[in-house]
Structure formats: structure tokens, C-alpha cells
């Protein structure tokens, strides 16, 4: 039996979510498609943002999809890794900035 968790082949079936909720699924994919079109940001820039977010939300499907998307757009591996670092920096920053709360609480409780 196929692995019930995170099977790479499931990514191909993403579109099928529409079958169980036609309207919402269709609206989602329309929106999704629109978001990644060239706009004020280029499709290339958006692909790198998506790759960074994919790592932060730790979605293996999205990581596969946006690594491939980056290759298709001619994005280099150095650019991809920097995007991952940008995501990681924000994520660790978000953790560390809570350190201030810890310091505040510590100070408040201490004489």
C-alpha cells in the first residue's frame, strides 16, 4: 500500500479536491492562478516568495512544486537558497522576538 502520509504522487491529485466541493475548489484554483500571474511583482519574484513560505509552513508538496517552478523560471539554486534563508530568518526572528516578552515577564516578577 502507498504511504498514507505525504505521498509525492498525491501532489498530482491536488486538483481533485474540487470534486468534493466544486464551487469552493474552483474559486480557490482561480484565485491561486491569478495570484501567481505577472503583476506588480514578477512571476519570478512570486515564485521565490512561495518557495520561502513553503519552507516556513513546512509543506513538502509546496517545496517540490516551487523548486520545480523555480527551475522552470530559470531561478538559480543560489537564489532559491537565499529565499529559504529569508523565510528561516523571519521564522527564527519571530521566535526570538518573543524573548522580549520573556524578559519583560522575568523583570516584572523579579525584585
Amino acid at each position: 500500500m502507498a504511504n498514507p502520509y505525504y505521498d509525492a504522487a498525491d501532489l498530482r491529485k491536488f486538483g481533485k479536491i474540487t470534486e468534493w466541493s466544486e464551487e469552493l475548489g474552483t474559486k480557490f484554483f482561480e484565485y491561486y492562478g491569478k495570484v501567481f500571474e505577472e503583476g506588480a511583482l514578477s512571476a519570478r519574484e512570486k515564485s521565490l516568495i512561495a518557495l520561502a513560505v513553503a519552507h516556513v509552513v513546512k509543506c513538502p508538496y509546496c517545496i517540490d512544486a516551487y523548486t520545480k517552478d523555480g527551475l522552470e523560471k530559470g531561478i538559480t539554486k543560489e537564489e532559491m537558497m537565499e529565499a529559504v534563508h529569508a523565510g528561516a530568518a523571519i521564522e527564527s526572528g519571530a521566535t526570538l522576538v518573543h524573548g522580549v516578552q520573556m524578559m519583560n515577564k522575568y523583570n516584572k516578577l523579579s525584585m
Partner: protein, 351 residues
Amino acid sequence: MATKSLKARDNELAINNKQLEILNGGIFAEGELPYFKDKIADIGQFPLRPKKLEILQINVGYMCNQVCEHCHVDAGPDRKEIMTRDTMQLCLEVIRNTGAHTLDLTGGAPEMNPDFRWFVEESAKAGIKDFIVRSNLTIIRANKKYYDLPEFFKKHNIHVISSMPHYTKGKTDKQRGDGVFDKSIKALQELNTVGYGMPNSELRLDLVYNPSGAYLPGDQSAMERDFKKALKEDFNIDFHNLFAITNLPIARFLDYLIASENYEDYMYALVEAYNPTAVENVMCTNTISISWDGWLYDCDFNQMLGLKVASSIKHIKDYNEDVLNDRNIIISQHCYGCTAGAGSSCQGTVT
């Protein structure tokens, strides 16, 4: 990186039937993915038929100075299939009388055919409107005897179309071999020096981009913009257009897909990107492909699969354009490579 063709390695994919077996079997035979035939039947395009003949594409031989990993020709230094002057004479007859407006010489590295220059000189006399030579760039720097190729091309007003996998060294060398990037840059600069590819220049220089791996090419105009910017800023190189070409699952690219366990995903990606509007303008609808030994094919890909035209005229010695144009084009699952996204042909997108 391999240094020999599949043929020289006795790889079973060097046998055409084996390739067709793979393309017709597996996920297609099991019904997971639809056959190309059924897809185009849905839009009333089966059987696929030629329109007006516009392009004669002549493959003057499979010998090449490179052994690129993705090569659908399975070309390389060890390939001995080379067009003879006798067959070229037959081609010249056709070139002089054809209704096609474009002549497209390809290979291998066409320049390695010993009669290449003679053939170009003679063909140029026929006054074809657009005379293309597909040059891999490194050949210009491969040996002293090729150094004057830019001047030679210029003299005969050749439209040069060259392959350039990426504007960075790492990606280019990975696909095409070490040192290819530096040599290609030097060759492009030399073509620029004699006037090729300069803004407003009549000497056309276009680049072909094809992905270095199991993914599809991105948007052609966005890629062109990125290539132009990078090549100009880093190397002061100019060129006219960039053609983004999809790798078809044939020969060495098929071997790579299977060996890297990307074959199924790649076929899924091709089928998913199927664009019915691209079908109308696939290359075989306006092109005839001629092999080094004079046989006729619907396209260079079918040539590599050994699928001669389905016509009573099969060889250049019997060439008759009207009879030939009244034929059904032979298709298989590799054809999905021509209809993915904006479509793909030797002249880039087709929609």
C-alpha cells in the same frame, strides 16, 4: 557526464522500437494518462494533417563535438552517420524547386560534415528567404578550422540559431559539458563582432533555451528578458530572440528521465500542460525533415524514432511535395512535448 552516445554504449534505447514501446506502454497503456491520439481526436485533429509546407529541415549528420545529456539525436563524436555529397545533390534539387520559404540545417553539429560549406554555398544560391544553420556555438571554438565560421555565415547571410541552456556557467556546463559555457560566450562575442545579433542588424542570431532537467521551460518572453539582461550585463552580448523549447522524451533525454526516476512525473507534467490550441501549429504541420541518408520524416523527433513519413514518397530521390503533403502525420506520446504550455517547436512557442 557521458562521453559516448547511447548507440556506442549499446544502450537498448538506441533501438527505436524500444523507445516507442516505452512511450506507448506503462502509464498510457494502463489508462492512467490518455494517448495523444485520443486527446487530439477530442478537438477533431485526428488524424493530424500537414498544412502548407514552409520549412525544409535537413539533418546533415549525427556527428557532434558535444555529447549533451538531453540530446534527442543521441549525437556525439562517435556517430558516423553523415550526409554524403550525393544525397546533398538530391537535396539541392529539392531546395531549388520547393515552395518552402525556410531551409533549416541541423545535426549533430552540421559544421562537422566535410561537405557542409559546399552545401551551404550551393543552397544559398537557390535564394531561399530564411536560411538557418543550427550551430551549437562551441564548434566555432572547437578547432582552428572553424574559427572563421562567423565570417562564413555572414557571407551567406545565414540565420544562426544557437543553443544556450542558461546564462550561468554552472547550469550550462552541467547540461552540455565542462567548458561549454566559456566557449559559448566567446563564440557569441565573435558572432556579435561580425554583426550577428546586434540591435537592428539583418544578421539574425537567435538562442535556443531548453531546460537542464526534468521540468518544462518557463514563459518564453520572461526567459528572453532574463537572458538578455544577464548576457548584456555580464558579457556585453546581444542577440535577437530566445526560443524556449521543451525537451521531448526521446533518446538521451528519455534515458535520463528513466534513470533519474523522473519519467512518470515528466509525462504527467506534459499531459497536464497540454494546450489544445498548440496542436494546430505543431512543427510537423509545416515542416519536412530529411535525414542524413535522404529519408523523409514528419519532424526531427520522428526521424530519431525511425518513423518515416506515411506516404508513398519516403525518400528524397522520389521527392514530390504535393504527394507528400497529402499524408497523415505519425504521432505518439512524445508529441505531448510539442503541445505543452505555449507549445514548442524548433522556432520556439507556437501559440
